[in-house]
């Protein structure tokens, strides 16, 4: 029997218990081994970029915050940073510190959440229950500091909307101490627990070369030995004044990604302590104009899942002309296909989960417009059409010889 007939096609998604968001993975199986994966985005498109163009900058901060339920601080910070750059606003130092503090607390809750999800994907629900219980500490702290567990509504163009009072400092430190203890326990667990190591080691391999080639970002890239972190390479907010190390790992597998995230948690605790200690006094906001002068800016931000890039183009009104968001998951989806090559079906959920995907953040749509006079063109016809099109605009391309082309 030829191999082709033995292939079983399994639809993982768009509706599947392993996926918390709709996404389609068509998996071709030979026995338990994966021979090909076809990935399809587009089940969760919300049109946020377009929505931003119809709203004012102030409204956009809240809309952009809702790109992601987990890294909401990331997206709103990346957006306001771009707008501040266009408007030429100088961010008060205290505001930068508060932004950074909330960003790092967000990283804590995101990484703990990831650890739990990873546990669930490999059938280790105890880890899920433990990490999510501990995560409540940081969620409650975020609620205390900003008023919300998620979608903090903290950022505004030119600063932050809430100050941190001296009375809140002890509770921050208390939570950080408690979580540091717990994280040490999880690190020990990851290093010693046999079934965990068996399920995580050696799967979802992504070599350093592939990570660079496929443009992986964040912990996914750092676990493949790519020493890249926007917080250090292109410091924003208060990161330039903090001391921290970029955690990398050479294992290049899911276990490495776990180690990197756990290591990052330990760095984050030390950063939060520095932030609280060094926090300067002063105003938390500067007056921002409602109409942003014409201009454009790109803002980079190291979200928990990797580098988040926002591009904003202003046209002098109170609404942006274009907002473009590249969430970290979009950068990492390419590497997932590579990681799944020759893997087992049983490893698919954890390999996909290991990039900490956020599908709705990354979702985009291509609309193919078919006009009334649509028709099919052959290659020759298409070449002629292209030549004519350029000639009408004063460019003659018919003289240009293409390699291996004798007719043109």
């Amino acid at each position: 029997m030829p191999d082709k007939e033995r292939i079983v096609r399994v639809p993982i998604g768009p509706q599947h218990p392993a996926l918390k968001e709709p996404e389609s993975f068509m998996v071709d199986l030979q026995g338990e081994k994966i021979s090909a994966v076809t990935l399809r985005l587009g089940y969760n498109h919300r049109g946020i970029e377009k929505g931003c163009e119809g709203r004012t900058y102030v409204q956009d901060v809240y809309l952009v915050e809702r790109v992601c339920g987990i890294c909401s601080q990331s997206h709103s910070t990346a957006f306001v940073q771009a707008v501040e750059e266009i408007a030429g606003l100088e961010l008060p130092r205290r505001a930068a510190y508060i932004r950074t503090l909330i960003a790092e607390l967000e990283r804590v809750h995101s990484h703990l959440l990831w650890l739990g999800v990873a546990g669930h994907e490999i059938g280790f629900d105890t880890l899920l229950m433990y990490t999510w219980r501990d995560r409540e500490l940081v969620m409650d702290l975020l609620a205390e500091l900003t008023g919300n567990r998620v979608h903090y509504g903290l950022n505004t163009v030119g600063g932050v909307r809430r100050d941190i009072s001296p009375e809140q400092v002890p509770s921050i430190l208390k939570v950080v101490d408690a979580l540091e203890d717990r994280t040490k326990y999880y690190i020990e667990l990851a290093m010693t627990e046999e079934t965990l190591a068996q399920r995580l080691s050696g799967i979802g391999k992504l070599s350093k070369e592939d990570a660079v080639l496929l443009g992986a970002v964040g912990p996914t890239a750092r676990a493949s030995g790519v020493d890249r972190d926007t917080r250090r390479d292109d410091p924003y907010a208060a990161y330039g004044e903090l001391e921290f190390q970029v955690v990398t790992d050479d294992r290049c597998d899911v276990f490495g990604r776990t180690v990197v995230r756990l290591g990052e948690l330990m760095q984050t605790y030390s950063m939060i302590r520095q932030l609280v200690k060094q926090m300067p006094d002063g105003p938390i906001t500067v007056k921002a104009p409602l109409r942003i002068p014409a201009g454009e800016a790109v803002s980079r931000y190291e979200a928990p899942r990797g580098e988040d890039v926002h591009y904003v183009k202003a046209n002098g009104t109170d609404k942006p002309e274009r907002v473009k968001i590249r969430a970290p998951t979009l950068a990492n989806t390419q590497s997932v296909a590579k990681m799944l090559e020759n893997g087992y079906l049983a490893d698919l959920p954890i390999v996909v989960a290991a990039i900490d995907p956020c599908f709705s953040c990354t979702d985009r749509m291509i609309a193919v417009k078919t006009p009334e006079d649509a028709r099919t063109m052959g290659w020759e016809e298409l070449v002629q059409y292209g030549v004519r099109w350029y000639r009408e605009r004063g460019v003659d391309v018919s003289k240009i010889k293409m390699r291996g082309d004798s007719t043109a």
């Binding site: 059938g123 629900d125 627990e193 965990l196 079906l345 959920p349």
Partner: protein, 313 residues
């Protein structure tokens, strides 16, 4: 024994209804312990019964492409086989309801039928997830069934009998000899985890990969039958292990013997719940490797020990 009492014995006590009640209680104990180990609240005591009752009231969906006969019969077969097996296991007295020489083999055979019905039900569901689950279920049968057989063979070697009642009676007469079989006890517990398809051996119904495995297409009454079968299998499996490996408190008064029996089953259920708290799900190839390279040799070691001990006594 008249036909009347036999029917009551089979259907009510200690047969079907009693076993179902015990099975639901067992599921509660398992879920509650699992929850408490994980720092959760856990369900109220009537939750398993409520789940089953609700399932009975739900719509029955049969996939169009499924083989209707097999699809319908598989759950019933699973439950019937488990209930039949329970009749040959001594619960709190020294003998079972219908003891005969060789009932150990029959019980092991009957306890294999649920797994086969999971396979058939899944295979004939014609859904890709169910098929994968069915194939995984049948693949891992061989990995845990043989260590289980060998582990149960070892105590019977000492007792020189294939009858569960006689094995129990032998160890009751030689009080401290059961300590020899402790390794086999461990092997049997691990195999029971595989039989019940629990973490770390729950690949046939790994939620995050193949939805619910063999049970993906099952709903309503038929799913309830499958769940009851698994619950009862847990009790019957635990009782079998208790009868063979923990043979004490057999000569006591009935009510006291019953309490001792419940204690033993609770202990085994507790160990199973603890094990499934501690581990991550193994991949099917890792599971097979583990069972053949670690569990099976340990089971054979137990046989070897028992052969030596038999010569010494």
């Amino acid at each position: 024994m008249t036909v009347g009492t036999a029917v009551v014995n089979i259907l009510v006590f200690p047969g079907f209804l009693f076993l179902v009640a015990l099975g639901l209680a067992g599921e509660f104990v398992d879920r509650k312990l699992y929850a408490r180990f994980q720092n959760r609240q856990g369900p109220p005591w009537f939750q398993p019964a409520a789940d089953i009752l609700k399932l009975f009231g739900k719509e029955n969906v049969i996939p169009e492409e499924a083989d209707r006969t097999t699809f319908n019969l598989a759950p019933v077969f699973a439950l019937a086989a488990v209930v039949a097996a329970s009749l040959y296991i001594p619960l709190w007295s020294a003998t079972s309801l219908f003891p005969f020489d060789g009932d150990l083999i029959v019980v092991l055979y009957l306890l294999l039928i649920p797994t086969l019905s999971f396979f058939l039900g899944g295979w004939y569901s014609r859904s890709v997830f169910a098929t994968l689950g069915a194939v995984r279920a049948i693949t891992q049968v061989f990995a845990y069934e043989i260590p289980l057989f060998v582990a149960l063979l070892a105590p019977s070697l000492l007792a020189n009998s294939w009858s569960i009642s006689k094995i129990a009676a032998y160890y009751a007469a030689h009080p401290w000899l059961w300590l020899v079989n402790l390794i086999g006890f461990g092997v049997a517990l691990v195999s029971l985890l595989g039989k019940l398809e629990r973490v770390p051996f729950d690949t046939p119904e790994a939620e995050t990969e193949i939805v619910a495995g063999s049970f993906t297409e099952y709903s309503g009454r038929r799913l309830a039958f499958f769940r009851l079968a698994i619950n009862c299998e847990a009790i019957v499996g635990a009782s079998l292990i208790a009868a063979v490996f923990l043979p004490f408190g057999l000569g006591l008064a009935p009510w006291l013997g019953f309490l001792v029996y419940l204690g033993k089953v609770l202990l085994i259920l507790g160990i199973l719940a603890l094990l499934r708290t501690l581990f991550a799900r193994l991949r099917i190839d890792q599971m097979i490797n583990f069972c053949w390279k670690v569990v099976a040799p340990i089971a054979f070691l137990q046989v070897l020990i028992n052969l030596v001990v038999r010569e010494l006594i």
